[in-house]
Symmetry: C2
Subunit: 323 residues, 2 copies
């Protein structure tokens, strides 16, 4: 009787509470802001995004900026735990969190959140990850660990790729991050396209790369084959100079860089990449990584941009806060 | 008697004519201008240099700019053949020359000069070199071929490296250029240092790289070992973030890029580099390449910046004009 009553009570509780708001999830990076009110069952009640990255907050008054950005969520900010991931937890952000050492279990990351009450709000800053070894030196991430936690299918060893200004290749296993490596692909692409001689090859309305261009595929294959960019980049210039038919400089450059990223990623994690990779991230970059993987015969699984919200939710549950 | 008289006459002639001005040699690149009056024996009578590269000539009036730069050489400009190498012979320059196909003998290059009389001056534009193959695609040089001709010791197979915004590794043999490859090392260094996240690691008075820094050597070894820059560049950032003692970001970045250049160059020309490399070029970059080669156990022979003047002279002689 007790057990059955308990079960019924629990079911009722679940039915009712599942749709109640349980936390505010925030992904606040260098260049963008994204927030959601998440229900206890993990579904999203409301969400918003803005171009207000941490680099664009006047006087670094994060508290005021945060309240302004979410001015219509006053009640939730006052009553729910607020999980924040991304560069908001860096030295340049609101509250600096200590990096969690990698390998790190998801529970370690949840326990590592920096809790503080600011201006009446219960803030939980999710720590980034740090790893070090003698060969590769230091590496860090802030925010991607939360995307991984939100986006991955738990279980076997799996590579998660998060395309971006600084792409990460992340080796996960079960409920943990085992290893990762950062590739400055997007950052290098922008610098090469805008600030080297290659800029002269981009001046005919062709500065936007496209994953559908044959040049992109050629770049991917060449970058993957050689992985020695230093001797390849000038060919973006010469192929333009000699007007190869159908040549698209920005797409070829993008392909070269992403192909080289894949070469290094596959060399680093040969066994795991044989199972394919999970790509999490921006809608803008996703098609480039999916196409590159296709060119190279690597299977992909795609997770959309809500992964960091779900990651905040999962971490809150691990902390016993989102019921 | 006749032979002896002839010999005496010849000696007199040599004594007299050897010190007579024989040509004007000009190395006119994108960012700088250098000219010399060369005697018939190959020695330099006068020389000058200026920051007036072809990119800085108002209205592209090269004829007027040239006369202004050398206004005190009026007599020589009117009477001597003028040999010009570098980007002055490109589409953006004074007179566009057709590239000579590589492999190219020095005589081919001499014969390939574009002769024209402009404004009373006898101009000889030295052609650049072009090469193409299915694997590496197109590659080009303008100016370095003249440095090679001026700077190399003739004879066996030899690698000549010309450090710069776009470094070249050039395989020479006897009186010919057999093969070459361009590396965008200097261009990439400037773009990485100034226009990526790495700029944040350079903001403490350490933007100038130095070949004497331990960080430079570490970069060279790491860049040479991996040659996969995409996975290495972010370490410039993280090593700064974690304040490694004695770490110098600009030097490490420079070392990584030059080390990677050496890795590709050695892989491309394994036999020839075993004999060491000849480095021709700017006083500013020379010490970086010499130190990098030392770190990697590669012998170097160094040729100073007058190589292009001597190259003009040798080409003029091959054309029968500098006697």
């Amino acid at each position: 009787m007790t057990a059955q009553a308990g079960l019924i009570a629990q079911e009722n509780t679940v039915d009712t509470d599942a749709v109640a708001p349980a936390l505010v999830a925030v992904d606040w990076g260098t260049s963008s802001f994204r927030a959601a009110i998440v229900r206890a069952d993990g579904t999203i009640l409301r969400s918003m995004s803005a171009g207000k990255g941490i680099a664009k907050i006047p006087g670094r008054d994060f508290s005021q900026a945060f309240r302004q950005l979410l001015s219509s969520w006053e009640a939730e900010l006052a009553s729910l735990p607020i999980y924040l991931c991304g560069m908001v937890g860096s030295r340049q952000g609101w509250v600096e969190t200590t990096y969690q050492e990698c390998p790190a279990g998801f529970e370690d990351i949840a326990r590592g959140t920096t809790r503080c009450k600011i201006d009446g709000m219960e803030l939980r800053f999710i720590p980034g990850l740090h790893r070090y070894d003698n060969v590769a030196g230091h590496d860090v991430m802030r925010g991607e660990e939360t995307q991984v936690i939100g986006g991955m299918t738990l279980g076997r060893e799996r590579i998660v790729v998060t395309p971006g200004t600084h792409s990460k290749w992340i080796l996960t296993e079960g409920q943990s991050v085992r290893h990762f490596r950062t590739f400055m692909t997007g950052d290098i692409f922008a610098a090469m396209r805008g600030h080297t001689i290659l800029a002269h090859s981009m001046d005919e309305g062709s500065t936007l790369a496209s994953p559908g261009e044959v040049s992109f595929e050629q770049g991917v294959r060449q970058g993957f084959r050689t992985n020695a960019l230093m001797g390849e980049l000038f060919s973006v210039r010469t192929r333009s100079l000699f007007s190869e038919p159908g040549f698209h400089a920005a797409s070829y450059l993008s392909g070269l860089l992403i192909g080289s990223e894949f070469a290094s990623g596959v060399a680093l994690y040969p066994a795991a990449t044989r199972e394919g990779v999970t790509v999490i991230g921006s809608a803008a970059l996703m098609p480039f990584y999916v196409r590159a993987a296709q060119c190279l015969g690597i299977d992909t699984e795609v997770v959309d941009g809500e992964a960091s919200v779900l990651g905040c939710y999962r971490l809150a549950r691990l902390n016993g806060e989102a019921w």
